[in-house]
Symmetry: C2
DNA sequence: GTCTATAGATAGATAGAC
DNA sequence: GTCTATCTATCTATAGAC
């Protein structure tokens, strides 16, 4: 087996297991068994469990952040330009996420993992995650500020946070790992087109008086 | 030390530690040390770690659900009555949560714990949590349905889910356990009045075309 | 009821043969 | 690079003295 193939198999298994069972709930033994590699190969290729988690995050968030940065910087435009449209700002931030998670083989595992990290304040990997997404959040806020120059800052910050919360839950709901009990509350028809519904919903909310 | 005092000390410590470090990340040793009780007393009083988690949830969710049920049933009213106002429906569901979490001594620990459980599909305690809140969610949906009789069902379900996501994040943000990196994005002024901002935000969103 | 001591299982990490 | 074997630490749970 080639080096990169082994690394990829470990990364894929880790993404799925960390998402479903959590970082602490996943043993390296279970992980390497699922990946079909040897127990010691995690330490050989990544250096340890925590370093593996970082690699799992970087593999997806690197390209994702690049796309978001490009979208948002275009919208922010020059200092004197016209204010961007709300829906465009929302789409610029959120569309890359939905597109990325839709295109992955292990449907929704990564978005579930992100949802967990957002909800777990002291979990390893959290600070690394924030480091990676912080520039995106700051650009997102800058664009919202331009779209709503009259809104008081604390209110705009709250609203931005509500948007992130709604997005996070929409992403979790798309996954195959939606647990029994919630899944039955939502008919299958509701599992498609999440991104579009979300943008309409949040655009109306942001324009509240 | 009296029986109930020992049990309460264990429950308080468990609520805080499960919220910050997670169920798996909290050892009974750390828990009993923080509570100032003996290691074996968890098994004596509760029967084990998982049974303790259930008690932690029931202690808060029992009274909370009772209040929500009363609020929502009043709003749902009789079959022929007028449709309820959106803001009233949102308040009926959400206000008890914010009020409860505001009044607790260990500020925000419980809401953080709920946020975790929502994000962790296979964690123990999740199915028990759903069992406890399911009646509330069904009543919430019934009230929304009455307030928006013309909205297609899948769209209303999505919107309800977005509401829950935004609420969950608003609750996490209120807590003292908001991690560094996010906290600095939100000035202290934004930490008060979350419930009110949220209702305005979501009312506008639900009324989107 | 509270405590000590310990059983029994499992974790991450690593040394060394091949 | 891959594998086996093993070290050391830590976990939940419980038996039994007081």
């Amino acid at each position: 087996m080639s080096q990169t193939e082994t690394k990829d198999r470990i990364l894929d298994a880790a993404e799925g297991l960390f998402a479903r069972q959590g970082y602490r709930g996943t043993s390296l033994r279970a992980l390497t068994t699922e990946a079909g590699v040897n127990l010691a190969s995690v330490h050989y290729h990544f250096g340890g469990k925590e370093a593996l988690l970082k690699e799992v995050l970087l593999r997806r968030l690197g390209p994702l952040s690049k796309r978001r940065q490009a979208n948002l910087k275009r919208l922010r435009g020059e200092p004197g330009a016209a204010a961007p449209c709300v829906r465009d700002v929302l789409r610029a931030f959120m569309a890359p996420t939905f597109v990325l998670c839709e295109g992955l083989p292990n449907e929704g595992a990564f978005s579930l993992l992100i949802g967990r990290i957002l909800a777990e304040p002291e979990e390893p990997g959290r600070s690394y995650f924030l480091e990676l997404v912080r520039p995106d959040l700051e650009l997102f806020y800058a664009c919202l500020k331009r779209a709503f120059p009259a809104l008081p800052e604390p209110i705009l910050l709250w609203r931005m946070h509500f948007c992130l919360g709604a997005m996070s839950h929409a992403l979790s709901l798309r996954t195959a790992a939606v647990p029994p009990g919630i899944r039955e509350l939502f008919p299958p028809a509701a599992s498609a087109g999440a991104g579009g519904h979300l943008v309409s919903f949040l655009a109306a909310a942001l324009e509240a008086p």
